[in-house]
Symmetry: C2
Subunit: 188 residues, 2 copies
């Protein structure tokens, strides 16, 4: 539909509920209440519930991509620093304000075919960034294994943190990123 600031705000609130309850269990009435409007009014901003999901996932993936690019730009150029920067950025989008990127990862398969086609290139761009960094790490003999698999294992380990991470616990995303890097890199 459109791209108003109001819609942006509603998308943000939807992301929060989708993470808390899951997409399927989040009703349009719950969404409306969280937004302080009635359920009928929601459909002025979004054609249907699917479109809300697509908006959240687009936002989440775009966010992750932007943050990752920024992190690489600020990072030292050596493969270890870049690997750490990527892991840190990924965890920040997942754990810091537990929102749209989590939905992008965990509710991807709830997208209908059209939306999935439209968003796949975004996700691919994000994964391409990871592949680049991991290729360099493997070439530098910092990490061992087949890139295609290493990439999936590493992202799996990071994505799963959503399930157990406690924001009041002893470690912050930065430390988790460090620990993951320690686990998969060969000591110099």
């Amino acid at each position: 539909m459109n791209d108003s600031p109001r819609r942006k705000e509603l998308t943000r609130l939807a992301a929060q509920l989708f993470v808390q309850e899951g997409f399927d269990r989040t009703t349009v009435r719950m969404l409306a209440q969280e937004m302080g409007i009635k359920s009928g009014s929601l459909f002025h901003h979004f054609r249907d519930k699917q479109e809300i999901l697509a908006a959240v996932i687009e936002e989440g993936t775009q966010n992750a991509l932007t943050l990752a690019r920024a992190a690489l730009k600020d990072s030292a150029p050596d493969p270890l620093s870049r690997l750490h920067a990527m892991a840190r950025a990924h965890l920040d989008t997942l754990l810091t304000d537990r929102n749209a990127h989590v939905v992008a990862l965990y509710e991807w398969r709830r997208l209908d075919d059209g939306a999935r086609d439209h968003l796949t290139h975004l996700r691919d761009a994000y994964e391409a960034l990871w592949n680049e960094v991991l290729d360099d790490a493997i070439a530098a003999d910092l990490v061992t294994g087949d890139r295609a698999l290493v990439s999936r294992f590493v992202l799996g380990a990071l994505n799963w943190t959503v399930r157990w991470y406690d924001p009041d616990g002893p470690r912050d995303p930065e430390q988790l990123a460090h620990e993951l890097v320690v686990m998969i890199t060969r000591r110099p």
Copy 2:
């Protein structure tokens, strides 16, 4: 409820649907159809839909525990072999017949409080097995890092395979287990 062989068979079919569609999107009518009965008849075997989920998850976790114990029993006693055996067993329960264990991992939070309390000890027993094996691997200087985190990262990497694994692809669970172990162990 009871524990008839019929119920066991129905549980197996339910697991399949829960993996394919997700618990929330699987209706009792779909379950009944898959089982070749009408939806009303389902409630002769299970009190409600929740109880089906609990049965599937109990089955899946128990399976994983049994298989892991068997794998450790058959394994060579060195830490590397045991680590590989655990990873292999875990992936077998997740990828080989894509069923109850996947549901246990991915639909755990859909359990109601009572069922969760009842099943937590099973899950803890399974994780205790992992912790033992990882403690040994870390003590042998095979893997580097804090056990609590290593355990979560490794299980995350393994659990996420469900999302991308292609049974017709070039690698089987055994090879994936090998690649994961290669990635996280220090070369001798």
